[in-house]
Amino acid sequence: MATATAAVKAVKAPSPTGDIVARWVVLVFAASLLAIAVLLVYELFIGSAPAREKLGLWGFLFSSKWNPVTEDFGALPFVYGTVVTSVVALLISVPFGLGAAIFLSELAPAGVSNALTFVIELLAAIPSVIYGLLAIFTLVPLMRLYIEPFLKHTLGFLPLFQGPAYGVGFLTAGLVLAIMTVPFIISVSRESLLAVPRDQREAALALGATKWETTWQIVVPYAKLGILGSVFLGLARALGETMAVTMVIGNDPSVHASLLAPGYSIAAVIANEFSEASGKLHPAALVELGLVLFGLTMAINGFARLMIAATTSKGSRRP
């Protein structure tokens, strides 16, 4: 009763104070996020000053030398390793994740779907060091003894699958990243598939489409934005992943065409070398690598936005 009268009173005499306070509070929250991002770039920029002055931006980006003794630093092997492992991860995780999401949202009974989704979301919460340990003890021997020899035997004519099978390298790191990104892709894609209105499906079925035609030609295109979003969420995780990657990538700062060869990633080298980096140039070069990773993430996200904008203007726009 009391609340009802209070509500009536509020309607009678609307006070702008609450609105103003709320407006400022949320504005401060939003602005602080932006401020953190700006501060981050500023700190990275300042911290990398000695390296930027000595090595220059382009010289740093395109040099593949990394020698702390002679103080020659180049980012190329690390950028290459980061991009290659992330691309391998997405090539594996996108088909798997999308397939699983379609099954969960369109085909599986609701009970099964919810139970499986719960398990998948648990997978997303596992710390990356656990994935790394699992990879070292199970995936690496498996890769070395079976998968890599098989790839060399069947696809060895491609430069992608040549060289000795160490078990660690770009391919293994990509595979671990794929396992880590799949839960994100499934979870977010399933949500957006479920959000497709029922009448879209009914209309397609009524026009004589089969169940699969409905799913593939109507439901998936309708949920395209959400699915792309899930892919870029996965990509963001893959680009910045540190522990699991450094445990299986081989940590060799060089550019190899073969996916079986050992490599290195930006996040991994920062984690490995920063605490012991001495002198002026070495820590600054690592900070500059952080700046490069930030730029790389920005560029990829920007590219993603452009792609989404381009595809939505042509295709069906969401209401």
Partner: protein, 338 residues
């Protein structure tokens, strides 16, 4: 409820009370002596009521950075500070105090080889340079008569994070191989000509255990704890020596006689018939001047304790205690702290 919160407040007070009066020292640095430093500092705190030392094992580089910037009361490092690093310290002089000694050993994974392998320095250098590429190489066989080696490629495994272990290893290789010195050099992180990198000792040990036909290097303590076979290394007197407390102590004996006044000395490839050639001191980095006289007093007390009581605990953790001559010389240096 009230009694509960009262009890809670009481507990809180009880927990914080010693902190209020305790003299606290903060230190950070090398990971290699971390197990013994934790033991020492814990026991020192127990034996001297009201004194606490926090030690954060963030690496030798972290220790040097800490004392240079003055963010900690003292640091620790597996590699003496360079002249350049010492010159960068604005607040005053930094004194080096050796605390214990340790060894770095070559570990390997070779199926079917049960004997302990023998390596000379130049062979190790060429394996890590890649000019000896196969286990069946004549030069390895010549040092290990009777061992049947597989005709397989050698997989080199190294530390990928900067570390004092890598410095000691590359310092030794630089001394015995001119090729290594000119192409790679000695540092906490170097540009490796070949091989896979493992993060920290655990990563190197894991990779060596997992990768057939591999060779790597770790601290002796680590090889012992993980029960991995490790090889003996040829010393400057020409004998193959396995690392243990006695052979590391002998490596320091020569250095003890000719110890420079600032204690910055490398004992890799040391003279001595049974000296293990890849041995090292590890140092505490102590500022010569403290702004707080109480802190200076406590640091001095700590150093006296480490050099006397602390040394007795080395062997249990597979560290070698300091030679007598070094201890005597260090005791004199303690007086320089103000």
């Amino acid at each position: 409820m009230k009694t509960f919160s009262l009890a809670l407040a009481g507990l809180f007070l009880a927990a914080t009370a010693p902190w209020a009066t305790a003299q606290k020292l903060n230190a950070c640095g090398a990971t290699f002596p971390d197990p013994i430093y934790k033991t020492w500092f814990g026991e020192f705190g127990k034996a001297h009521a009201g004194m606490q030392i926090n030690y954060e094992a963030n690496g030798s580089g972290g220790g040097v950075k800490g004392v240079t910037d003055g963010t900690v009361d003292f640091g620790a490092s597996d590699m003496p500070m360079t002249d350049q690093e010492l010159a960068a310290v604005k607040s005053g002089k930094i004194l080096h105090f050796p605390t214990v000694m340790g060894a770095v050993v070559p570990i390997y994974n070779l199926a079917g080889v049960t004997q302990d392998l023998k390596f000379s320095g130049p062979v190790l250098a060429d394996i890590f340079l890649g000019s000896i590429a196969k286990w069946s190489d004549k030069r390895i066989a010549a040092e290990n008569p009777g061992v049947k080696f597989p005709n397989e490629d050698i997989v080199v495994i190294h530390r990928t994070d900067g570390s004092g272990t890598t410095f000691v290893w590359t310092d030794f290789l630089s001394k015995v191989s001119p090729d290594w010195k000119s192409k790679v050099g000695a540092a906490k992180s170097v540009s490796w000509p070949k091989g896979l990198g493992g993060a920290q000792s655990a990563g190197v040990t894991g990779l060596v255990k997992q990768t057939p036909n591999s060779i790597g290097y770790v601290e002796l303590l680590y090889a012992l704890q993980n029960k991995i076979g490790y090889g003996s290394v040829k010393n400057s007197a020409g004998t193959f020596v396995k690392a243990d407390v006695a052979s590391v102590t002998e490596a320091a004996a020569g250095a003890a006689k000719n110890m420079p006044d600032d204690f910055r000395v490398s004992i890799t490839n040391a003279a001595g018939k049974n000296a293990y050639p890849i041995s090292t001191f590890t140092w505490l980095l102590i500022p010569s001047k403290f702004s707080d006289p109480a802190k200076a007093k406590q640091v001095k007390e700590l150093l006296h304790w480490v050099l006397a009581d602390g040394q007795k605990e080395c062997a249990a953790l597979s560290y070698a205690p300091l030679p007598k001559a070094v201890v005597t010389k260090e005791e004199k240096q303690i007086d320089a702290i103000q």
